[in-house]
Amino acid sequence: MPVIDIKNLKKYYKVHQKEPGLSGSIKSLFSRKYYDVKAVDGVSFDIGEGELVGFIGPNGAGKTTTLKVLSGLLYPTSGHVSVLGYTPWDRKPAFQKQFSLVMGQKNQLWWDLPAIESFILNKEIYEVPDAQYKKTLDELVELLDVADILKVQVRKLSLGQRMKMELIAALIHSPKILFLDEPTIGLDVVMQKKMRDFIKEYNQRFNSTIILTSHYMDDVKELCQRVIIIDKGKLIFDGALDEIVKKYANHKLLTVVFDKKVDQDKLSEIGQVKEFNFPKAVISVKRTAASMAAAELLQHFPVADLNIEEPQIEDIIREVFTGADVA
């Protein structure tokens, strides 16, 4: 049985139209015109226990909205949603004790107190037994290496340190399901890497089910076998990461390094020249014609080095979103 099950989920935000100017403001006090923003528009997927799924899409695709529905913060417009067998927006305590939502740009820690106080509060809110609390806290503190800053006022922590504390606060009740919304946003590269390592370790050690949204492809590439891609509220891909390449990349990239000057026009006969910076050139060719093109290059050009590569996943995804032919 899947842990998370979504069928034809729709979430339309009712937004009231703001007319410009003072008279518009006054008018809108009495009669408001509403229109719908279709943030999520008929999305279905299910996720099994222990999966770590990347949930990606451009800004405004509907990722955060989906996670908010899954956490019971929003009532959906229509569709069926079941998480651990519960309907999230019933907000049953038994359900709430089994998941956590972490948003990169939001914080739950008490700003003026040391983080440990917020952990204690969460322990009480989630009714975690003393022994389990101690064990979990010790484990997390060690994994994230924050023993020395537990008693520092939260406002005095760096963004990276605070994010670690946010994670601990979110994990103190050992949730079975974790919704991570852009957890690495704003962090420097080293810190991003640490976060990724932690998420991976956490997923493996506790077999927790994790949905991770991010717009850093590195996060997803390193962590997730499966990705779900949405755009404009609609699901456009759900499968293994390398399937994206197979499905959408009908081209390959030939990277060539030349010995001597070559004529760019002649190169164009082989395929689409994406980049030409003597001595290096990148040529995009049809997937099926890749080996032919390579042979031709070797035969007719002064080639020093030649590589056949798949296009970058970032590029594929970007082009899927812009609707362009992927090259």
Binding site: S71, W110, D112, I120, Y126, E127
Partner: protein, 266 residues
């Protein structure tokens, strides 16, 4: 209920983080008490009675109002429910097994607890210095009834302000304005500024059917023995009815509000 006690204790610590703020706030309080005392002393320097109150009665009234309002009108220093609804921080609580109303109630009491401690010290000092003549009812039943109405009023005030702030679910831009108007109304109609029996009888009886006079005027008037026991009992009953009504409405608005809450501010 341990979770709410922890909220209480964290809030208590939190209130101490802005010590200077707190000290200034208390200082303002002392000034206000002094000003009120001086004002009424001046009014009564040339006459024996004003607005139907003798000097002792009036001083007793304002002194009691000041004590009672430290518990009724006081709210946590960082009560920002409207802001939390607007910027989506409310989500932090909604995903957890905790009641938002009770969360704020705990925080409310933490701040009140702190206020009590300081108010007791301040009032004792002021009393020692000025030795104003105070006149309370000598009947213990009055005192008991007055205190119960007072405590009921503390909760009614809490639910009234929450009702006002939950408007933020529908009109996020206007929370501050609405809150301001409600607070002004409450200060005037509760009897905080002047004893309500200086108003025409018509207005007084009309006010009886609003929750406001139960916050300050009735507890004070009962404590100084202005009403018969029977009347006092009647006001206690009515204050309880208001408590139930405001509690019910606050919860109703909360539930309706959650339906339109869009957790914005991503």
């Amino acid at each position: 209920m341990r979770k709410y006690f922890t909220v209480f204790s964290l809030s208590f610590q939190n209130e101490f983080t802005y010590r200077l703020n707190f000290i200034l706030w208390r200082f303002r309080n002392v000034l206000r008490i002094l000003m009120t005392l001086f004002l009424w002393t001046a009014v009564f320097s040339s006459r024996d009675a004003a607005l139907g109150y003798s000097r002792t009665q009036m001083i007793s009234y304002v002194f009691l109002v000041l004590i009672i309002q430290t518990l009724v009108l006081a709210a946590p220093s960082n009560d920002n429910v409207g802001g939390e609804i607007n910027n989506g921080d409310l989500s932090n609580y909604l995903v957890k097994p905790i009641s938002y109303l009770n969360f704020w109630l705990s925080r409310d009491w933490a701040s009140k607890f702190l206020n009590i401690i300081f108010a007791v010290i301040e009032f004792s000092l002021l009393w020692l210095v000025f030795r104003p003549q105070l006149q309370f009812s000598e009947n213990m039943v009055h005192i008991l009834l007055g205190i119960i109405v007072w405590v009921v009023g503390i909760f009614t005030y809490f639910f009234l302000t929450k009702m006002a702030v939950f408007v933020a679910f529908w009109y996020p831009e206007n929370t501050w304005g609405i809150m301001f108007i409600v607070l002004v109304f409450m200060e005037i109609l509760s009897g905080f500024i002047f004893p309500l029996d200086v108003l025409p009888t018509m207005a007084q009886s009309a006010l009886q059917f609003t929750p406001f006079p139960y916050l300050i005027y009735y507890p004070v008037a009962i404590l100084i023995g202005k009403f018969s026991i029977a009347h006092s009992l009647q006001f206690l009953l009515q204050s309880l009815i208001w408590l139930f009504i405001t509690h019910f409405l606050a919860q109703k608005l909360w539930r309706l509000g959650l339906k339109v809450y869009s957790a914005s501010g991503r």
